[in-house]
């Protein structure tokens, strides 16, 4: 009889299960990453309208340094992840989605650039700006949500 009993789940599998992200409160770890990311945004003045204006006027190296070193760090991380086949904490194999080219990247990209220079913010900084007390930016954020909605609604009619 004993022979046919279910084999107990090994301890390490339990650990994986714990981090599988099924429980909603595990989502708070992403909020923690966001919190640290938001602090960097503010402290390096990436959310500053003036820094963005200086970037597009070539009056300061700051933003180029930030984006350039972020990309280099990102490249190195991706290389390490691929080389050593690191897995995510929930045991998943890390995957990279391939981006397909379409004309939207040109048209949308240009429109996004216009908005970026106008508001001095891309989507991430909008949330941080509101946090620092610029409450009027909630209007910018709602407009951005509206813009996203309008794209989704009329997507079929736009050239891609």
């Amino acid at each position: 009889m004993m022979k046919h009993q279910k084999i107990p789940v090994p301890v390490y599998a339990g650990l994986t299960e714990k981090w599988s992200g099924q429980k909603w409160y595990y989502l708070f770890r992403y909020a923690l990453v966001g919190l640290l990311f938001g602090i960097v945004f503010v402290k390096a003045e990436i959310i500053s309208w003036y820094r963005i204006q200086e970037m597009f006027r070539f009056q300061s190296f700051h933003m180029y340094g930030v984006i350039g070193s972020a990309v280099l760090t990102g490249m190195l991380s991706v290389w390490l992840i691929k080389k050593f086949r690191w897995r995510a904490m929930n045991g998943e194999q890390i995957t990279f989605q391939k981006k397909k080219f379409h004309r939207g990247q040109v048209f949308g990209g240009l429109l996004f650039g216009l908005g970026w220079a106008l508001t001095g913010a891309c989507p991430g900084p909008l949330f941080a700006q509101i946090g620092t007390g610029a409450t009027v930016v909630t209007v910018t954020l709602l407009s951005a949500v509206t813009g996203t909605w309008v794209y989704g609604r009329y997507r079929e009619k736009l050239p891609h």
């Binding site: 990311f37 280099l72 048209f107 908005g115 989507p123 996203t148």
Partner: protein
């Protein structure tokens, strides 16, 4: 003494060589925490999906992407934390040439953002409305049309060596240059 020096440096604006790598590390952090692809403008799409699921583009299980909403909520909290506890008093330094140019349009300096443009009072002027609401619309519309924003294309896309992201990033820059150097002077004169 070293701790005192570091604490003082923490309150000062952080240089690019500190901020850039930290931002770059956000990407592997999300991948290692749960195989999540770094991208912020997706959160705007999830908000639409939560409110307007009848449109095919927004008809998907946004709850399975809820991590992204927690992430942007964290960015908002990061803004609060920095503003309350991590900021030394003092004006934000701005390039003198820019200060002079902006003064010509009646825009002052001091904080992270010009209050002459980004305030509730400004929202009720044509110029302010155009910048705050019009700019926001372009950011949201353009990012989704391009399939991502600065985080998804310029950082995640370039780090994984994807040429469509390079095209998108170049277009972000081209649009920004066009706005700043040709259109913005007209808008600021309104």
């Amino acid at each position: 003494m070293i701790i005192g020096y570091l604490a003082a440096a923490l309150l000062q604006p952080w240089p690019w060589y500190v901020a850039g790598p930290l931002i770059g590390l956000t990407m592997p952090a999300l991948l290692l925490l749960g195989n999540k692809s770094f991208g912020i403008s997706s959160s705007l799409r999830h908000m639409c999906a939560a409110c307007s699921p009848r449109i095919p583009f927004f008809n998907y299980d946004w709850k399975s992407e809820a991590w992204n909403l927690f992430f942007v909520a964290g960015i908002f909290l990061g803004g609060i934390v920095s503003a309350f506890w991590l900021t030394a008093p003092g004006a934000v330094e701005v390039n003198p040439a820019l200060v002079k140019e902006l003064a010509g349009y009646g825009i002052g300096t001091g904080g992270l953002m010009p209050e002459d443009l980004f305030s509730w009072q400004s929202l009720f002027s044509f110029r302010g409305l155009l910048i705050i609401a019009g700019g926001g619309f372009l950011v949201g519309f353009g990012a989704r049309y391009a399939g991502g924003c600065t985080s998804g294309h310029a950082i995640m896309g370039l780090s994984t060596l994807q040429w469509p992201s390079l095209v998108a990033t170049c277009c972000f820059m081209a649009g920004g240059l066009l706005m700043t150097n040709w259109l913005l002077p007209l808008i600021l004169s309104l």
